[in-house]
């Protein structure tokens, strides 16, 4: 897309969209939202960049060699956090019983494993959206 206004406005907006998405992911256990909605926000900002500036620029920012690691990192973190529960008390994905500190009620680092799981889900959703779009755009440019 070669429109100056769209390029300038989106360059201005993308950092704020990403900041809001990260805020929603990190505050998943405190306010509305969570991993899925925050990850969708971060992913849609990356998709906006890929649509406006094209596939080449987008792959310069997030090449496939990095995105394939991020892709697996999200779900592996989730499973490893669950396996810690097996090692400590013997049941998968246990929170308080597995020894995660619940912290002070209402602060950012509270609720045991919930913030970490939310972060893993957010990374997974964002990377899924951008990887799918990059793959489809690449397929389009082949023909």
């Amino acid at each position: 897309m070669n429109d100056l206004i769209v390029k300038l406005i989106s360059r201005l907006l993308i950092p704020f969209i990403q900041l809001y998405g990260i805020y929603i992911i990190l505050h998943g256990h405190l306010s509305f939202g969570g991993g899925f909605s925050g990850g969708a926000l971060v992913g849609s900002s990356l998709m906006l960049y890929a649509i406006i500036f094209g596939l080449k620029e987008s792959e310069k920012k997030l090449p496939h060699t990095i995105s394939k690691f991020i892709e697996s990192f999200g779900i592996l973190t989730y499973i490893i956090i669950g396996l810690i529960g097996i090692l400590t008390v013997g049941s998968f994905l246990s929170n308080k019983q597995a020894g995660y500190s619940l912290g002070e009620f209402g602060t950012l680092l509270s609720a045991g494993m919930i913030p970490y799981l939310t972060l893993a889900i957010g990374i997974k959703v964002a990377s899924t959206m951008i990887t799918l779009l990059q793959r489809l755009l690449k397929e389009d440019s082949h023909d």
Partner: protein
């Protein structure tokens, strides 16, 4: 002849389904089968057991974390499916 039998069977099915729709519980009603002890349990104990302010986050990532793991696996398998189908097509062209 067989057409008439099919129409009769479909009509009986229509009547049965219509009756079941009429007898469905109201949305949010107290006789709703989904409205049982577990909702009270979550509201009473979520704060002590998970320490999370957001009870919905406590349910989806603590009480039902295994379900969320399944949802994340769906995302992963969707990526794997798209990559396998699209790269298969690319190999044939080249």
């Amino acid at each position: 002849m067989s057409k008439k039998i099919i129409i009769a069977i479909l009509f009986i099915l229509f009547v049965v389904l219509s009756i079941s729709i009429v007898r469905m519980p109201d949305i949010g009603g107290e006789s709703n089968p989904a409205y049982n002890d577990i909702t009270h349990y979550y509201i009473d104990n979520a704060r002590e057991e998970t320490g999370s302010v957001n009870i919905i986050a406590a349910i989806i990532t603590d009480y039902r974390a295994f379900d969320t793991l399944g949802e994340t696996t769906v995302l992963f398998s969707s990526i794997v499916a798209v990559f396998s189908v699209l790269s298969m097509k690319g190999d044939k062209h080249e």
